[in-house]
Symmetry: C2
Subunit: 384 residues, 2 copies
């Protein structure tokens, strides 16, 4: 380890856990067990006395938090974390995911770690510029939809993309279920959809962006990125929990594409009493992985995330996080045009409204898209 004189120890990572405390165990012992489990994995009796536990986590604070639950703040030394996001998440929740009643409520990220991990390359302002919005912050809410369904041919999808772009949307993204399936192979699908959207833009003078779903083995991603860039695509949809957090981080760092992150699988972490708070996973970890926007379900749609959690994740996406750029909340999840105004009242203008299935109820997709765009445009922030 470098001496403190040459390289002062970096600030530690602080994590607030809500821990179930079994009968007969003290909150202190439970918190200490988590700190050890997530770092050295050896109790005091298992460490050679000559080998200092330099990288063990330590308990900073313990507060009661309801019956048989405590709120414990733990600190992990920077050197335990290494330089990749997978290892950071491993330290946060790897092994304790398999214990009962461990929930990460909050994380304090050291600025040095954040800087080394990267974060968004476009951020809210960069994504606005791609969409042709130079009105400055807070600017206007952006509009997006999902290109569907799985099973359609590239020509059918391109036809829909054309009509959606004609309607004036800012972003048409692939549905996250469109991967590289036989009815619409990746290469043909993205070429035709990008061409369709550029044609619509040429006709309307608009700046609609097509964001294909970028998935598959990480080794194949560079070739896919090359194709996307060659045909003029400026961004993509990624699923960090499916593709891998560091694979997405590499895409953010080197693809030149703006990234919207899809929360596929994330719900496994959102159970009461065990898991990772949505604000930490979607609002912080996904932003650190390089997402310029993060898709999340608005309450009241088909998904079950409490409103307080979605408020918190919006704060975390946009708020200060070291020197990382802020990222857009992308609010979707079974929301129709009629919910645009109340959603924006709550979320504010730095939001991408993602209306998918809601548009498809109208066989005239162009009109449906236009109604969404108009609903977003006619909304005015109540807080000037």
């Amino acid at each position: 380890m470098p001496s403190a004189r040459i390289s002062p120890p970096e600030a530690a990572l602080r994590v607030v856990y809500e821990l179930a405390v079994p009968a007969g165990e003290s909150p202190e012992a439970r918190a200490r067990a988590v700190a050890i489990e997530q770092t050295v994995e050896l109790g005091e009796d298992g460490t050679d006395p000559a080998l200092p536990e330099r990288l063990a986590g330590r308990v900073v604070k313990i507060e009661p938090a309801g019956e048989a639950v405590c709120r414990a703040t733990l600190e992990y030394p920077a050197a335990a974390l290494g330089a990749d996001l997978a290892q950071v998440v491993n330290v946060l929740f790897g092994n304790v995911s398999m214990q009962a009643g461990v929930r990460i409520a909050a994380v304090e990220w050291p600025a040095g770690l954040l800087a080394s991990l990267g974060g968004p390359r476009f951020g809210i302002e960069g994504l606005r510029r791609l969409a042709g919005d130079t009105s400055g912050r807070p600017g206007r809410p952006l509009t997006a939809t999902a290109l569907k369904p799985l099973g359609a041919t590239p020509a059918e999808l391109a036809g829909r993309a054309y009509r959606l772009a004609r309607g004036g949307l800012d972003i048409v993204k692939d549905d996250h279920g469109l991967a590289d399936q036989s009815p619409a192979p990746f290469g043909e699908r993205v070429r035709r959809c990008q061409e369709a959207i550029e044609r619509a833009n040429a006709e309307t003078g608009g700046r609609c962006l097509y964001f294909p779903n970028l998935t598959g083995p990480p080794a194949d991603l560079p070739e896919k990125v090359e194709l996307l860039r060659a045909i003029g695509v400026r961004g993509a949809l990624v699923a960090p929990l499916l593709t891998g957090l560091d694979a997405v981080r590499s895409l953010a760092a080197s693809s030149g594409l703006a990234l919207l992150a899809h929360p596929a699988l994330a719900g496994a972490f959102f159970r009461p009493g065990h898991g990772i708070a949505p604000a930490v996973l979607l609002g912080e970890v996904f932003r650190i992985a390089g997402a310029d926007g993060v898709v999340f379900p608005l309450p009241g749609g088909r998904f079950a995330i409490p409103e307080a959690d979605t408020d918190a994740l919006c704060r975390d996406l946009r708020g200060p996080l070291g020197d990382l750029l802020p990222a857009f909340p992308v609010a979707g999840g079974g929301v129709g045009v009629e919910r645009v105004a109340p959603a924006l009242d709550r979320l504010g203008p730095d939001t991408i409204l993602l209306v998918g299935g809601g548009l498809y109820r109208d066989p005239d997709l162009e009109s449906a898209a236009r109604r969404l765009v108009e609903a977003a445009r006619s909304w005015r922030s109540r807080t000037p």
Copy 2:
């Protein structure tokens, strides 16, 4: 889509879900909603009638399963799944992870899909051969430990690796918390540990294997694999949920290394009533990703997985799964030498016993390792 004449439709993927059924909804409607959510994501009213819902999931069977819960068998067409594991898992659980009360209890995998995804390259017999066990099946139980702790220098870790290998273990794997941290950078650590274990083997005539933890951004993995192969390492530890399922699948296909998969983060999926059964995630998905052995916690240790689930995951790791090779259950999780015999009585000989912290309680690591080896060797299967 290819016509049925040229390419007969492949068998579908069948999934058994346990679904919470909200008051006022029918089990049929709930199951149908999941089938749509995970494929076309459009209700009947949202699909252009000219666009057949060719790839929508469909409900095959529904049974009651307790109060307000049903057991629904769904079928997803092969063409919805594409050719990567991330998309398969996305179809299984991507969006519904964010709904309440959705648990995957079982999966029936089409043989064609399994063949295209790959699976283990060594399997139980291949890993036995690496460890010098040519006694044929069922053969003897193998023994393993974890090299710890995070914070030790490469020299300290190599010293421990040497003593553990001298004790006669089959495998010394890195603790899954050893990544590429400053106290023991990856390159120096693996060189020194591999050298130490080879030195011990030369002295004892043993065949102990060193399996370093292979982690970090997927783009960096090829270089790490090259280093490992250059210094004679034959296998590695991977964490599929951290590194990415398809990144691990690529390693299995092309690294030439045997892979032990660590369940970091997996516990998020193991909550009652919501998630993925341990047997499906660890016993099937991890095996399909290419794990030759899968680490899981034995009941009664520090982790909270029910015994019925660990029995089922052992069956799934070893049992028929298309033409995939069987994989070793690697039983760990706070187990000491004293639990070797009862664990083997339950698990049988096709098992790797992973005793980590339990060995380190003895300052004489070589003796501690030898006691584990002897406990495994003196155990005799009760079922001849």
